[in-house]
Symmetry: C2
Subunit: 197 residues, 2 copies
Amino acid sequence: MSKGEETRLMILQRSAEVFNRKGYSGASMSDIMQATGLEKGGIYRHFTNKDDLALEAFDYAVSLVRLEFQAALKDKRDAIDRLRAIVSVFRAMPDGMPVAGGCPVLNTAVEADDTHPLLRDHARRAMDEWREYIVRTTVKGIERGQVRPEIQPEELATFLIATLEGAIMLSKLYDDLTHMNRTVEHLQTYLEHSVKA
Amino acid sequence: MSKGEETRLMILQRSAEVFNRKGYSGASMSDIMQATGLEKGGIYRHFTNKDDLALEAFDYAVSLVRLEFQAALKDKRDAIDRLRAIVSVFRAMPDGMPVAGGCPVLNTAVEADDTHPLLRDHARRAMDEWREYIVRTTVKGIERGQVRPEIQPEELATFLIATLEGAIMLSKLYDDLTHMNRTVEHLQTYLEHSVKA
């Protein structure tokens, strides 16, 4: 990796956390300068403007979450095991894993829905990927007799993601993991008793 | 109502919508001036600063939601009917009812959790009120034989609120009420089949 590529990655890492904690509007270029230790010119050598940096930092944050999913799903073949593994990745998000500030998709969705169509589109694409994975896993699970045939894959994806993202919000609002832990237990029971064939 | 009180209420109404759509950081005083048709001085005659206005506008938005709850709960005596009525109020939130921009508590919680302790405290107090209402309704429902005795009231409150707030986020992210409608149906079925005695 060249020195320039290294600097670019460092800027993405540090600014992803700043944007995820403070939001796109709340994070100033001076926050980014402070977090990276660079002057404005050093940042603008790698990114055209704040928008460009915010979009790339968001995608970088999502790629960290993707890596967590891949690690949790490794070696899981059964559909219910896979769905439980996805739930387990969300469990750590209020605690800042893998990105401080909670779930980047939740934070960006809530901020950008009424204000920033480009950021919103990036959030949609990240959410599409999670929903599609749950749908695909559920469809395969039904085919293989691991999931009850009456389960609607799209509905299950909406329900799991809505509940987990809402639980991140509650746990971060109260700075109390109880809300996330209760929700995870509720969903694991639901997967074992209502979804598993 | 005096002319001054009328102006104050108008500022709260208009700025509650601006803050709910754009967020605290994203909403500028010029946005507020444009929405109210007032000069900066006219706004600062009624509110000390942007923080003061944001906190009062948030509480005003929450009071609009409270009125929706009160209307939906009027004449409902059975615990399951009351819980279903709460779900029905959330159903309209992605569509901007009663405040454009979605649920003010969700929006404020996600923005303020890492950045603005005062706003976060107001969001906590609003959320406390909703959680406590669900807990109290469930406890009474168990006493009166309307709710299964094995239901844990605190867990039910976390689960219902997390799922509904997450569904608002999804429906607003995709500008598609399908996510909210699926979630409401899922929760109504859950209340009838798993919570009702």
